[in-house]
């Protein structure tokens, strides 16, 4: 096992370098450590230094009892972090100077004052761990906490420094959303808590009052008991006053914020308003939240039975601090988790990919007029701020430490959901159901809980933290993790994307607090498990399932090697700010999804015979399905000489009926052709992959690609009858006899699109080729639609000249008569889409031509 640094050392020793330098050889700083793993392993699986396999999000708290502690990671999977020391890193990120927040008694004020502190955003690097993090600090209110606040932080941890730096603004805005969820939930919970506390206090006061009166009656006004009681009463009174004030402050939050928002709108440039701007993103939301605060607290008023409060509060460490979920309202907590999951998903993978897809999306969002034609519909991304993305943010200036003073413009992304992972339909297929594992873990976690409490209760200071044994910290970490894992199972499993995220899903379900090394050892076992519930969804190839295995497993020995090396390189694990020292040419790692994405070509090739239909109607069409369809399309083009005619029919809006006896064959052809259907719809509504009853005229309006069963039954004859009846509106591809009956096509456009001698080998490549050609076509259609001189009559009696001008325009664009039909059809779709908006309501018209059809044979 020789890594490149070793090799370099050897050559230096031999001293050949001076006499001969190969001009082609790479400079030393670009040399990549040789990957000495198994022959077919992916060289991008491991970064040099990071001890974790992929990016993750860490939520940690600076607990007043135990110091910095990790609460949960997203993905909630111990494997992700690998041997990465979460406790240590928590300490690091929490110790970054968090702006001092005045809570408690500010000078000049008699009563505690809540500070609505802005979140701070920091970038942090740790060369020793090979980790870079975007750290988002926030505070949550807790009545029982010291100064009523508990500091938390959300950190996005990646091995790729550039990712953190480049995506800083996006990360910031996304994390601000998550933070806002937490904070608004927290305000609600805090207000509830205050209400309860006030009830208690008032009850206590009334009891004390009675007692004081009694003392006065019995012992006289100036007896010690009476004075004591009076003092106690006065304390309670004061406490009530304070709590009332707190309640007023917390409930007055929305109006304050609103004022701020107005203010900000006038002075967006003003620095130090970052979080306020972030709040504007969620201002609606928090309004709603705070309204619910009031209403709900009212309802609690009626049901809550007040308790007597002891004069002396409990010892600080005797009480159990609230969990994060308790601190924030449960629903808000789930929202936060979802948001964090979204963040995790949208930022996973290589930076280049993220960046290109961001640019891609930003550009697409500007094309809403035409993007519905051939682009995957991503309406969920259009809302909000994504439109303002400027490509010029190539080199965002990222402050290294404290970013609260940095102006943050609104041009950040809304959720960038990887299309591959949008699977609304699979939510029901949650991870493996809760089995005995969870029960066991609960017990163990409780045990761990008590253990940690015991070990920490005597230590008040943070310094003591260092003395804690790693094992207990580990347990503590899993304690937090486990607490959250119960939540995670209740919430929809976000990792349930069809095929390739399988390993994650499995490990999600099998959350067992165990040693990380143990986890790695078990990987294989978990992986090998058959997944019956996913069998029909995923492509089910062992190729795909096994591929990520090697990634995750890694080689512990290798890891150790690297870490040793790294620790030798970095002299001191100083507080983070060591970007300049660090090598930036780390090997980019590709996460599981990306690798399997690239293998989807293989899986498509092996599974294409199974004729998996992308159309399940409940789920949106994904880019991955389209890429697979690219492979089928490639096969179709090579196999059928009349493929061009068929594609022409689809592009010109003439319904193509694929007729056949065998459902698999028909579905396969539908699968191959659906990428050419304009205005496919988010769920592929315009395609009917398999129909065994005669279709109606209205179906031709809806469906542009139909798979139709040929049967000998009476139903079959009526199907044939309808085919015959509507033959002028449809083209028929008979896959049993390998014939196509359709209008003729002359031109070069489709032949470029579907050249049967194409050199393209891979389905996804072909898909992108098609996508490129179709985009070009769409651009022409756009031009044709919105060139107003060709559509508006010069005068009232000018209808005829409009027609001729249109025709000439298309001829000038270089289109034949048939190709003009395509552009014309696309143009009509654009017009309708523009006039009606994206809503597809209303009764659609159905356009057709009177043209002679010909029969094409193979």
């Amino acid at each position: 096992m020789i890594g490149s640094p070793d090799v370099v050392a050897l050559t230096k020793e031999d001293d050949f370098g001076d006499s001969f330098t190969d001009p082609c050889s790479l400079p030393e700083e670009f040399s990549v450590p040789l990957f000495a793993h198994a022959a077919n392993a992916n060289p991008w699986t491991k970064t040099s230094y990071a001890k974790f396999s992929k990016d993750f999000i860490l939520v940690s708290e600076f607990s007043e009892q135990v110091g910095p502690q990790p609460l949960l990671t997203i993905p909630n999977d111990p494997k992700v972090c690998g041997t990465f020391d979460l406790n240590y890193f928590s300490l690091r990120i929490m110790s970054v100077d968090y702006q001092a927040s005045f809570v408690g008694h500010p000078p000049g004020s008699n009563y505690p004052k809540l500070n609505f502190v802005e979140d701070s955003k920091v970038v942090l690097g740790d060369s020793k761990e090979g980790a870079f993090a975007y750290v988002h600090h926030l505070t949550l209110y807790d009545l029982e906490a010291r100064g009523f606040v508990r500091p938390f932080c959300l950190a996005y941890i990646s091995a790729d420094e550039r990712k953190i730096m480049h995506q800083f603004q996006e990360l910031s805005s996304e994390f601000s959303k998550a933070s806002e969820f937490l904070k608004s939930g927290n305000r609600k919970a805090f207000a509830n808590e205050l209400e309860k506390k006030l009830k208690d206090l008032e009850y206590t006061r009334s009891v004390l009052h009675k007692e004081t009166e009694l003392q006065k009656m019995n012992n006289g006004c100036y007896s010690t008991q009476a004075i004591e009681k009076a003092n106690e009463l006065a304390n309670v009174e004061k406490s009530i006053y304070e709590h009332k004030d707190l309640l007023r402050q917390i409930t007055s939050y929305p109006s304050r914020k609103k004022k701020d928002v107005d203010f900000v709108q006038h002075e967006t440039e003003k620095p130090a308003d970052t979080s306020v701007i972030d709040d504007t993103l969620n201002s609606n939301h928090s309004d709603v939240a705070d309204k619910t605060v009031e209403t709900e607290s009212e309802s609690i008023k009626s049901s809550y039975t007040p308790q007597l409060i002891k004069a002396k509060s409990a010892k600080c460490f005797d009480k159990r601090l609230k969990t994060m979920e308790e601190l924030c309202d449960a629903s808000f907590f789930h929202q936060t988790r979802e948001q964090l999951n979204i963040i995790e998903k949208s930022f996973r993978g290589d930076l280049c990919l993220i960046y290109t897809s961001q640019i891609d999306r930003a550009l697409l969002s500007k094309q809403s007029v035409t993007s519905f034609l051939f682009e995957a519909e991503r309406s969920w991304e259009y809302g909000g701020t994504s439109k303002n993305f400027s490509i010029s943010s190539n080199n965002p200036t990222v402050p290294i430490l404290n970013l609260s003073g940095e102006p943050l413009s609104l041009d950040s992304y809304t959720t960038c959901i990887d299309v591959d992972h949008i699977k609304p339909g699979v939510e029901s297929m949650d991870g493996p159901p809760e089995s005995s594992t969870s029960d066991i873990t609960q017990e163990t976690s409780e045990a761990a809980d008590t253990e940690t409490k015991g070990s920490f209760s005597s230590d008040k200071s943070i310094e003591a933290f260092g003395g804690v044994s790693p094992s207990s910290l580990q347990a503590n970490y899993f304690d937090g993790l486990e607490r959250k894992s119960k939540v995670s199972i209740a919430s929809p499993s976000e990792n349930a994307s069809s095929s390739v995220a399988v390993p994650q899903r499995m490990s999600d379900g099998n959350l067992v607090p165990m040693d990380t090394a143990c986890c790695i050892g078990q990987d294989g076992f978990i992986f090998e498990e058959p997944l019956p519930e996913l069998a029909q969804e995923c492509c089910g190839d062992t190729v795909v399932n096994k591929e990520p295995l090697s990634l995750l497993q890694g080689d512990p020995a290798l890891q150790v090697d690297y870490t040793l090396e790294e620790s030798a390189l970095a002299e001191s694990p100083n507080m983070g700010l060591t970007f300049s020292e660090l090598n930036t040419e780390e090997v980019e790692k590709i996460n599981i999804e990306d690798v399997s994405d690239s293998t989807s070509f293989m899986s498509a090739s092996t599974s294409s015979d199974r004729a998996v239909s992308p159309f399940t109607y409940s789920s949106a069409l994904t880019l991955k399905q389209k890429k697979k369809a690219g492979h089928s399309a490639l096969r179709f083009i090579r196999q059928y000489p009349f493929a061009q005619q068929a594609i022409f029919c689809l592009l010109s809006g003439r319904t193509l009926v694929i007729l056949g006896v065998d459902e698999g064959t028909v579905r396969k052809l539908v699968n191959a052709l659906f990428i050419f259907v304009p205005n496919l719809g988010k769920y592929g509504e315009t395609v009917q992959p398999w129909l065994s009853s005669p279709f109606q005229l209205t179906d031709l309006q809806r469906w542009k690609l139909i798979g139709l069963q040929r049967a000998a039954s009476p139903a079959g004859t009526s199907i044939l009858h309808s085919l015959n009846r509507y033959s002028r509106y449809i083209s028929i591809l008979d896959c049993d006899n390998k014939t196509l009956r359709c209008p003729p096509y002359k031109g070069t456009l489709v032949s470029h699109l579907a050249d049967h001698r194409t050199q393209i080998k891979r389905g996804s490549t072909y898909f992108f080729h098609v996508q490129g050609m179709l985009t070009q076509l769409t651009a022409k259609a756009f031009l044709y639609t919105f060139c107003h001189h060709i559509h508006l009559p010069m005068d009232i009696n000018d209808q005829g000249s409009v027609t001729s001008r249109r025709t000439n325009f298309l001829l000038q664009l270089g289109y034949t008569v048939e190709e003009s039909k395509i552009v014309h059809y696309l143009s009509e779709l654009i017009k309708l889409h523009y006039i009606q908006g994206s809503s597809k309501g209303g009764n659609q018209s159905f356009c057709f031509n009177y043209t002679t059809s010909y029969l094409y044979k193979i």
């Binding site: 509507y726 508006l792 002679t852």
Partner: protein, 449 residues
């Protein structure tokens, strides 16, 4: 079977249909866009235009639906009749200085209703009639309307019965036509009865003036031609043109579609198997020409010249149900075979080529015409001014008999059918231009131009 379906052109050429086949190349057919309107649950039989945009449809499900022809929107549903609707007519009257258009419907449940198509209200309703009403006629001049069933009833605007005739035969009145001087012609089985409305002050009386019994069989069609003429057609193909004032016969044609002695062999056999329907189901007129739907054929007659203009014995595969003669010399017909066909009156080419099969005397036919674009080789040189009916396009969409159609000029053509559907056929080019205009208008509104 499949070979045949996918047989391409060569198969189409040998379609074993006696009717002519136009093929898919139809440059003169401008209807390149269709919109299917769903809403009825049974056969749709009647279409009535309300204004430039709206029309009503009614049929055997007793429903009356109001539609917008431009958008295809279903505006209002008029519910109330429990049985099939037998007649529907629009009724325009002046109220408060504004013209209102209402709908009068008659149903088999022996009710008559007046509907407001704006609000959907059933403004008036008369139930428990003695017999179901088969036809309706509005006399705009007198502001009254007539219902014809087993007796003739005269109603005023407020649905008050003014007068009625005595009970007639069981056949009842099947059609009515308004004649000058307050006379009404009504078709009752084989007779045409002329009624006179006597107006004395506000009272109206009706009395039968004369019975015209010149038809040999049941009269199916009675239409107004122009101010001086009306026409009637009977079950056995008699077409009589009457004078509106003195009720004398102006012309008599007996359309026989008779078999010629020297017919082509295949034609002969085919026709032997299937007796030719020559009932005049429907007629329409533009004042100069009359188009009669005779069985599955069409017959165009010039009332001024008193001569036949053109005819086609087999214009459809099945009985023709409705015809319209348009201003531009275009003729449309719809049939039980589910298609609408568009015809053009063309002058016959000079008799250069020999007639192959179709010389049938005065009332012959062109016979079989299977070539798609072949020139009409069959002609009758003896008849001067005879022209040919050339098929210029067909509309295929309905899967049942097309009962009726209604033209909105450039806005489109509405057809209704036995398959419970209505289809609006539109000029695709025109619609595309309209959409372009709408796009630019919206761009302007949104300040995006």
């Amino acid at each position: 079977m499949l070979r045949w379906i996918l047989g391409g052109r060569e198969a189409q050429g040998t379609v074993e249909s006696a009717a002519l086949f136009i093929g898919e190349e139809q440059p003169k057919n401008c209807f390149t866009e269709m919109q299917v309107l769903k809403g009825h649950f049974d056969i749709v039989r009647f279409l009535v235009q309300i204004d430039d945009l709206r029309f009503a449809s009614a049929g055997d499900d007793g429903l009356v639906l109001i539609w917008n022809v431009e958008t295809g929107d279903h505006l209002i549903e008029l519910r109330g009749h429990t049985q099939q609707i037998t007649a529907m007519i629009s009724y325009t009257f002046i109220r408060g200085g504004n013209a209102h258009t209402a709908l009068i419907t008659a149903s088999s449940d022996r009710t008559l209703s007046l509907w407001d198509p704006d609000s959907g209200n059933r403004v008036q309703n008369i139930s428990d009639l003695q017999s179901p009403v088969k036809c309706l006629l509005v006399l705009v001049r007198l502001d009254v309307w007539l219902s014809g069933g087993n007796e003739l009833c005269v109603w005023n605007r407020d649905f008050e019965l003014q007068c009625k005739t005595v009970h007639h035969s069981d056949a009842g009145i099947s059609a009515m036509v308004e004649l000058p001087k307050n006379f009404i012609a009504a078709a009752m089985d084989k007779e045409i009865v002329i009624f006179k409305l006597n107006l004395s002050g506000s009272d109206i009386a009706v009395m039968a003036m004369r019975h015209l019994a010149d038809h040999q069989d049941t009269i199916h069609s009675l239409i107004h031609v122009n101010d001086g003429l009306f026409a009637s057609g009977s079950h056995i193909g008699e077409l009589i043109i009457w004078d509106s004032v003195d009720w004398t016969i102006q012309a008599y044609e007996h359309i026989l579609w008779e078999e010629p002695a020297r017919d082509g062999q295949s034609e002969f056999k085919l026709n032997h198997q299937k007796p030719i329907e020559r009932s005049i189901q429907h007629m329409s007129s533009d004042g100069e020409y009359i188009v009669a739907a005779v069985g599955s054929g069409l017959y165009v007659y010039n009332v001024l010249m008193k001569s036949v203009v053109a005819y086609r014995r087999i214009a459809h595969d099945s009985n023709v149900l409705h015809t319209v003669l348009q201003q531009d010399g275009c003729l449309m017909s719809c049939s039980e075979d589910g298609s609408v066909r568009m015809w053009e009156l063309q002058d016959l080419p000079l008799p250069a080529e020999p007639a192959s099969s179709g010389f049938f005397g005065m009332f012959g036919t062109f016979g079989r015409s299977s070539k798609q674009t072949g020139p009409p080789a069959k002609k009758i040189p003896e008849v001067p001014g005879l022209r040919s009916l050339e098929l210029i396009g067909d509309l295929i969409g309905h899967s049942g008999a097309v009962q009726m159609f209604l033209s909105f000029k450039e806005k489109g053509l509405v057809t209704c059918s036995t398959d419970h559907l209505l289809i609006v056929w539109k000029d695709g080019e025109f619609q595309s231009q309209l959409r372009s205009l709408a796009v630019f208008q919206k761009l302007q509104e949104n300040q995006e131009l």
